[in-house]
């Protein structure tokens, strides 16, 4: 009953097609895989979690930000609760750090008090106003001019890649098919009813389509003649610091928010690093993820207002993520232009948090527009545990090597990731196909040398496990080749061009 993953052939038809393999699309596919349905998710990249879902703050927001009554408010709180239930079984690393919204003066103290009330309206539990001493006792490195803070104990951090992969893998285990390197280029509508999806790899007959195409969800809607919303890419840049400074902060630290965004934060990651960011700049190109000198300088200045002594010398990488902004709220609901098309679009923050809850409401909406749902008997709600060598005690490590000698070969020295874990990440039902795919799943190359040491080794393992030449191994996107053979170099522009 297992489904499939990869750039294989497109099935001729499906009960439901989900467009987009971000955290939202994958959570929807997983929710759909509870039912007796053929589900096909179409993703244009070689892997899931390559869009907005790979570059964000990784925070499970408590839910005090959103205006009561919005989708954001409702789905955030429900989503955060679902993660608490699901994360472990799906292999999604999650850490309940709590969050603080830091106020610097009396006006800001008023704002955080308002946030507390809003949070209570949204159903967020445990919110407290802390005074200066409480904040400093909890966060010794915080700026000395702090006046107080809002404490949200249900704030948490999560691994956004493994969240996406965890949902995707579970969907596949329950029969869903994820077809990668396949872009949707048309939606066939007859009598105002969706009848097929056209892709770069052929046509797929279906009567139900979920638009979870992230930054491209506006374009996808227009393929069905629906121009009810447009997406503006809004960029946020980050700097990530080494795990050696992981003790810098204990909780997610937000400044008191302004109108535009939640501001520059300083936050731990679930893997023990610390990051600063993001800023919020509207841009034109939905694929432009360049970081800028000005942007990085701006987030450094912003973060210093919360934690003055930033360990800039321990920065290990910088990156940018793009929010798919479509107005104030998420665009969730059936299209008015084409029956059978349901949008899960414009999913900005807190979209990562909301994803499993979005899955639930989208399934209800599909039912409302005519999809027949019958629960499957053999639904398996969890993924088998994948041992992480560096996280277990010595005795367990010894047992692991005894069962599989490849646990005895450390490939990524920064994060102590063994060959067995990398092979498992490639051979899993939602297995890595690229060097960055391995990194997102098991963190080989995510440490302080950023793959400088293990990159070539991971490339060789991918080639071996996938049965492809080294020159066919890619970094991330479809055309991101890494190495040439000597013959290709001599042949000139033709190969790999």
């Amino acid at each position: 009953m297992t489904g499939s993953f990869g750039a294989g052939p497109l099935p001729p038809s499906a009960d439901v097609v989900v467009i987009g393999g971000g955290v939202v699309g994958c959570a929807i596919a997983r929710e759909l895989s509870r039912f007796d349905l053929s589900v096909v998710l179409i993703e244009r990249s070689p892997d899931v979690a390559t869009g907005t879902s790979k570059a964000n703050s990784g925070i499970l927001h408590a839910g005090f930000d959103a205006e009561p009554g919005t989708w954001k408010a409702r789905l955030n709180v429900r989503g955060a609760a679902l993660y608490a239930e699901l994360a472990e079984g799906l292999g999604i690393p999650r850490k309940a750090t709590g969050a603080l919204v830091v106020a610097k003066d009396a006006t800001q103290m008023e704002t955080v008090a308002e946030l507390r009330h809003r949070g209570i309206d949204n159903g967020v539990a445990g919110l407290e106003i802390w005074n200066r001493d409480q904040v400093v006792a909890h966060e010794p490195n915080i700026s000395p001019d702090v006046a107080g803070a809002l404490w949200a104990p249900s704030g948490a951090v999560v691994c956004p890649f493994l969240a996406t992969v965890g949902f995707a893998e579970n969907a596949i285990r329950n029969g869903a098919h994820i077809v990668t390197e396949c872009a949707v280029i048309g939606l066939d509508v007859a009598d105002r009813q969706i009848v097929a999806v056209r892709t770069t790899r052929g046509r797929l007959a279906t009567r139900f389509v979920v638009n979870a195409a992230g930054l491209h969800s506006g374009e996808v809607a227009r393929l069905a003649g629906d121009d009810s919303f447009t997406i503006t890419p809004r960029r946020g840049e980050y700097i990530l610091f080494d795990r050696s400074v992981g003790q810098l902060v204990n909780t997610v630290l937000f400044p008191t928010p302004d109108k535009v965004s939640k501001g520059i934060l300083v936050s731990p990651t679930v893997h023990g690093n610390v990051f600063i960011g993001p800023d919020a700049i509207d841009i034109d190109d939905p694929d432009d993820k360049e970081t800028t000198a000005g942007g990085l300088a701006g987030i450094i200045a912003g973060a210093r207002r919360i934690v003055p002594a930033l360990p800039l010398g321990t920065a290990i990488t910088e990156f940018a993520g793009l929010r798919a902004a479509a107005g104030k709220d998420f665009v969730i609901g059936p299209s008015l232009a084409a029956r059978g098309l349901v949008h899960a679009a414009g999913i900005q923050s807190p979209g990562l948090t909301s994803a499993p809850a979005i899955g639930e409401v989208i399934v209800e909406m599909l039912q409302d527009v005519g999809l027949r749902l019958k629960r499957k008997a053999g639904f398996v709600p969890v993924n088998p545990e994948k041992p992480r060598f560096h996280e277990v005690d010595r005795m367990t490590q010894a047992e692991l090597v005894a069962t599989d000698p490849l646990f005895g070969r450390v490939i990524c020295r920064c994060e102590t990731i063994t060959e067995a874990e990398i092979v498992a990440a490639i051979q899993s039902p939602c297995g890595a196909r690229t060097v960055d795919g391995v990194k997102r799943r098991v963190r080989a190359g995510a440490g302080r040398c950023q793959g400088g040491f293990c990159g070539p080794r991971v490339t060789a393992i991918l080639a071996r496990e996938l049965g492809i030449p080294v020159t066919a191994v890619r970094k991330d996107s479809a055309d991101s080749w890494l190495f040439l053979s000597r013959a290709e170099l001599e042949a000139g522009e033709g190969a790999h061009a």
Binding site: T292, Q397, A478, S480, F483, R486, L489
Partner: protein, 434 residues
């Protein structure tokens, strides 16, 4: 978990580990072990197929593997144990080493003395915060070198090199030999970080331009690198507005510095020198953890392997003496400081001298390039020793032997480098290998 006992255990089987093992065995340590993560000995030398190793040590020009094999053959002729494909996971004070390998599983070694010889790692793009996108085609020069020289694959066709460290310079020549076009080397500092001989032999001989005082301010490209933006910088290393230009390329190689690989030491609470990034050691190369020694690139980054072997021999001999209980902690340690004109000095402190010891060898890195200079040794605030240097470059280590009688029992010891009042023709004592 199986357990073993050794007199001296050496972590890392590069040139430092090999020389330390041989010296320890020669100095009488009975049971000596090398633990090496890779599937062969030799360390980084195995990927350095160019010439230029061993001029000092063997008085001939060897390739990296050639130099390594001299030592590997010597080790093989002894009863030193070598565990390959074995990664050390932890080395705790008291000499308890936990390692793992596919064939032997998890293993504990109890050693009377431990030598750190784990080498160094390359600084990356993140460390220098180069903005832009994150396409394929950006590699550290050492990783690219390994791919080209050991696996036979090339990282790109049109190459820009960021930073003028030796590995970048060597790779500029290698990529040219392979048929790629190396467009330029960009160095942010007003001087190069590479050896002069590498600038001449790897760039000038092939007409590859070296831009000093230029910073790569952005990397572009979506799938694969498509180019970089470069600007001139002022003397504060700030970008000068209006000087930006673009260079098309499909590959960026980074040669922006090396950092000692001290994860194990840090986990064990090792006292580190913030400037070298390595341990603080005394003249025996003993670290702040009794019975733990360090040598080679894990201690401070070397440009010449010959010095690595020499330094490691000191560490190996000392480790053997410690294993026999002959190198007792001397109590009073005096610290040595790098003063004016210098960035680093190793050793950073002195323990009591061995009887009969005539001189102590110190290694320095200069803070900035200078012409003819004087290396001065100040003991308790008084000038005690002076040596002439023809030229001073941060990229080339300064080595000096200071007579024990000049050090005496002074409490404060400081080195300085100052411009020489007159031109210097020949250098006394040690020749610098440029």
């Amino acid at each position: 978990m199986r357990e073993f006992s050794y007199d001296v255990a050496i972590i890392g089987g590069g040139p430092a580990g090999l020389a330390a093992a041989l010296a320890a065995r020669e100095a009488g340590a009975e049971r000596v072990l090398i633990l090496e993560r890779d599937r062969e000995l030799g360390g980084i030398l195995q990927q350095c197929i160019h010439n230029g190793f061993g001029l000092r040590r063997f008085e001939e020009e060897l390739t990296g593997p050639g130099y390594a094999h001299r030592y590997i053959d010597l080790v093989k002729a002894t009863d030193i144990d070598v565990w390959l494909d074995t990664t050390v996971l932890a080395a705790e004070p008291g000499g308890v080493i936990t390692s793992v390998s596919p064939h032997a599983g998890l293993t504990v070694v109890r050693a009377k003395s431990v030598v750190y010889a784990m080498g160094c790692r390359e600084r990356t793009r993140g460390a220098i915060r180069t903005p832009g996108s994150r396409p394929a085609g950006v590699f550290t020069a050492g990783a690219a070198q390994r791919m080209v020289n050991m696996e036979g694959y090339l990282p790109g066709r049109e190459v820009v090199i960021v930073g003028s460290g030796d590995i970048g310079l060597i790779m500029a020549r290698r990529m040219t030999f392979e048929g790629a076009k190396v467009k330029a080397v960009f160095e942010i500092m007003p001087h190069s970080n590479g050896l002069t001989r590498n600038i001449v032999q790897c760039l000038e001989d092939f007409g590859i331009p070296l831009y000093l005082g230029h910073s790569v301010t952005a990397i572009h490209g979506k799938d694969r690198v498509s180019g970089v933006t470069v600007s001139k910088v002022n003397d504060k290393l700030e970008v000068i507005e209006g000087t930006a230009f673009d260079v098309d390329c499909d590959c960026v190689l980074l040669s922006v510095g090396l950092i000692p690989e001290n994860e194990l030491g840090r986990a064990a609470g090792l006292g580190l020198d913030p400037i070298t990034g390595g341990a603080r050691v005394d003249q025996f190369r003993q670290t702040s953890i009794p019975g733990f020694f360090a040598a080679g690139n894990v201690l401070h980054v070397h440009d010449l392997v010959d010095w690595v072997s020499e330094e490691a021999a000191i560490a190996g001999r000392s480790a053997a003496r410690h294993a026999r209980g002959e190198l007792v902690a001397s109590g009073r340690q005096r610290s040595v400081t790098a003063g004016e004109g210098l960035r680093t000095v190793v050793p950073q402190c002195l323990s009591a001298f061995e009887p009969g010891k005539m001189s102590v060898r110190f290694y320095f890195r200069a803070a900035k390039p200078m012409g003819a200079s004087l290396l001065q040794f100040w003991a308790d605030g008084a000038l005690a020793f002076e040596r002439k240097l023809r030229v001073v470059k941060p990229s080339e280590m300064i080595v000096a032997d200071i007579p024990v009688r000049k050090i005496g029992d002074a409490a404060t010891l400081e080195f300085r480098v100052l411009p020489a009042p007159e031109k210097i023709d020949a250098e006394d004592e040690i020749e610098e290998e440029a």
